[in-house]
Amino acid sequence: MQIDTIKQTILPALMQILPADAILSEQEDLHPYECDGLSAYRQTPLLVVLPSSIEQIQQIMKLCHQHQVAVIARGAGTGLSGGALPMADSVLLSLAKFKQILDIDPLARTANVQPGVRNLAISEAAKPHGLYYAPDPSSQIACTIGGNVAENSGGVHCLKYGLTVHNILKLDIVTVEGERLTIGSEALDSPGYDLLALMTGSEGMLGIIVDITVKLLPMPEQAKVIMASFDDIYKAGNAVANIISAGIIPAGLEMMDKLAIKAAEDFIHADYPLDAEAILLCELDGNTIEVDELIPLAEKVLLESGASETRLAKDDTERAKFWQGRKSAFPAVGRMAPDYYCMDGTIPRRELANILKRIADLSKEYELPVANVFHAGDGNMHPLILYDANIEGELERTEEFGAKILEACVAAGGTITGEHGVGIEKIDQMCVQFKTAELSQFHAIKAAFDPAGLLNPGKAVPTLHRCAELGAMHVHEGKLPHPELPRF
């Protein structure tokens, strides 16, 4: 069907469901929706709808299903993998009006919220009860909980407190046919399959998330952070393993390399040591006794691992300053070049030295500088490749460089994405991480929820055809992937 025909068919029907101001169809109104946080990819959607009730979402889904029109859900649009990238013939379903915190139960330690509620707003609302919501992606002031569920978002506290999947209890979804289903419960388990796990991180491919109940945790009585400097990044890597081997599970354990330190220091003046090759920020939290016991132990382990200096933030102000440098690392690096490209591979920590060496080699080969920030505690790396999109071919070169980093992560026993999702960005690297049978299984899962493929088409899981076409690019050790597929 032609785009105009689709529009003419469903626009009048949508106007029966939604008030006029909840439908955007003019070019200038559609522009703000043409990309998410991965702004290198842009596409204007056919229409944007902004429903304000679950019933409206159900009607929209029924209508689009009836006309076989694709639907792409969108939260705050902060995603970094293009998961909310529109298609020219699709309806973009914005959850922006679902902003209410419906209930906080301090005794049960739960919050029932609408999907458009911002991540940080949950913790702010829970604060008077001494509670908070643990997963804290760096975009938490803007990103929504619905998007967090769709991407299984992480943050700097995952090693101790888990990802989104560990911190939600119940979801209501609207299926592609417009049916409302409840998944999970306020109890600790539910009969049947763990659909809560399947929905979390499914990138809008299986259903529209319309209601969420999250777990809340008691706010730590105390949090303290140590900054350790190293003259060698590999010593910093070993220090991470030694901390964990000592039986310490830090609330956050972050690493930055020299370029990232410099960028952050120039930007924030966090008092980072500019002569260090790497720094580690090691945060311990919990009750006062626990933290006071563990801090000297952690300092001892860091020094024994070769730290040239350790500094304990003397108060909450200094602690916030140490963290501000880390949390501003992306924009800080962004000041060093016109553009940067953020990767999200995860590796077993023991592979850190090898991967860093590989990145350094690739950086020379592609003549593009890289700053490394790293959730060291859980092996999730964010190499930031600096480039200039105005120089012809440099974006392509950057993407190729990034793809090679991700392939190295897979080869090291890791994954192409730790927390940003596959979206459109890493769809080709899925062919490297998964075999044909596994990709086929993903397609079968998708078909169980959405047989016609109308929810967020083209994202997260590549077609076997796409992988076969890419085969030539990814010859590994002389072996062509997917040799079982016919080629012409």
Partner: protein, 360 residues
């Protein structure tokens, strides 16, 4: 160490071809969980018991990967040597219990409400689906969002989506000290107290309400445990019990006298703060109120209706010959979604058919 991957795959491939129903079995320690297999249907047993061995374990990575037939005992021992443990404290029920069975049943012990369930610690799994495809989902890293979370989906699927070949689990350091305190309480105050305490920074790792007493376990450093024990004991008038470890083993392994009965035992999973449903029978309450074992003569349907109203569900755990479904039936939309999802993994319907639900 024994790798039967090829054998197991060949057995499932043959069964797929011939549409033979398969009963997947590990240590056969949890055969009582789930619907009994139908007598009429011809089926073969596929055993993972000899598919054994810890494939990798690096304590500083906090990850262990083992073949499904590896006994829980062997895994717990290997971890204990490095001062680590499976944080979800799985029960064994028998020495033969395997890690594959534990994950397939998503079994967690007393620590569940405080550390998480078996499913929370699954990082990756290698499985054979009902078509005989050998597949790896997830991996050995803490953070991994590539593809749908099919590895965690295996937890609690009772082998109906695939035979688990290998599983990678996150592990955590063992706490230095353990103290258990006990306080006489009315059931509803016990539920309220344990939830209120859980909203604060105490190192609580388990709770049980039994015979009119609330038991709270603390796990942390010695100083932290002692200080918490003192403070909580003052608040709720509690005293320390003598043999903490033995007490919690009796709860985890269901060796406590409560479970020694020919009466029906229902497993109620409820929102933790739900008030006592006053069932008239003896109860043992775990997980801060979220898990309630009930010795009862009440019809299962009546209990299920009550639980549903409260936002929970009921499993016909033991001695329920009259229950038509072992697990609480699903709402119609969820049931058909389960059937489609099951078909996506097992199109011929040969893997443990009926164990989870009669029509699955």
């Amino acid at each position: 160490m024994n790798n039967l991957t090829n054998d197991l795959q060949a057995q499932i491939l043959a069964a797929y071809k011939n549409k033979t129903h398969c009963r997947i079995e590990g240590g056969n320690s949890k055969a009582f969980i789930g619907n009994a297999p139908p007598d009429s249907q011809a089926s073969i047993n596929i055993s993972t018991a000899e598919h054994t061995g810890i494939i990798s374990y690096d304590a500083s990575e906090l990850v262990i990967t083992a073949r499904s037939g590896t006994t829980l005992h062997e895994i717990k021992q290997a971890l204990a040597e490095n001062n680590q443990s499976l944080p979800f404290e799985p029960p064994s029920f028998a020495d033969s219990a395997t890690i594959g069975g534990t994950i397939a049943c998503n079994l967690s012990g007393p620590a569940r409400a405080y550390s998480g369930a078996a499913r929370d610690f699954v990082l990756g799994s290698r499985i054979i689906n009902g078509k005989g495809d050998d597949m790896q989902f997830g991996g050995q890293v803490m953070k991994n969002v590539a593809g749908y979370d099919a590895s965690r989906l295996m937890a609690g699927a009772y082998g109906t989506l695939g035979l688990i070949l290998e599983v990678s689990l996150k592990v955590l350091p063992l706490a230095q000290t353990e103290i258990t305190i006990k306080s006489q309480q009315h059931i509803n105050s016990a539920i309220k107290n344990i939830n209120a305490l859980s909203a604060q920074n105490w190192p609580i790792s388990a709770s049980v309400y039994l015979d009119g007493h609330l038991y709270i376990r603390l796990n942390s450093s010695e100083m932290n445990c002692l200080s918490a024990s003192q403070a909580i004991s003052q608040k709720i008038n509690a005293t320390e019990i003598a043999d903490s470890k033995a007490f919690w083993t009796s709860i985890t392994e269901q060796q406590h006298a409560f479970f020694d009965t020919s009466q029906s035992i229902a497993r109620l999973s409820l929102p933790a703060t739900a008030e006592d449903i006053e069932p008239g029978g003896e109860q043992l309450i775990e997980w801060g109120g979220a898990l309630r074992w009930l010795k009862t003569d009440l019809p299962i349907q009546q209990l299920r209706d009550t639980a549903r109203t409260l936002g929970g569900h009921v499993t016909a755990y033991k001695n329920y010959p009259q229950a038509t479904e072992y697990f609480q039936p699903l709402a119609p939309g969820m049931h058909s979604l389960h059937q489609r999802l099951n078909k996506a993994f097992d199109p011929a319907g040969i893997l443990n058919p009926g164990r989870l639900y009669k029509e699955l």
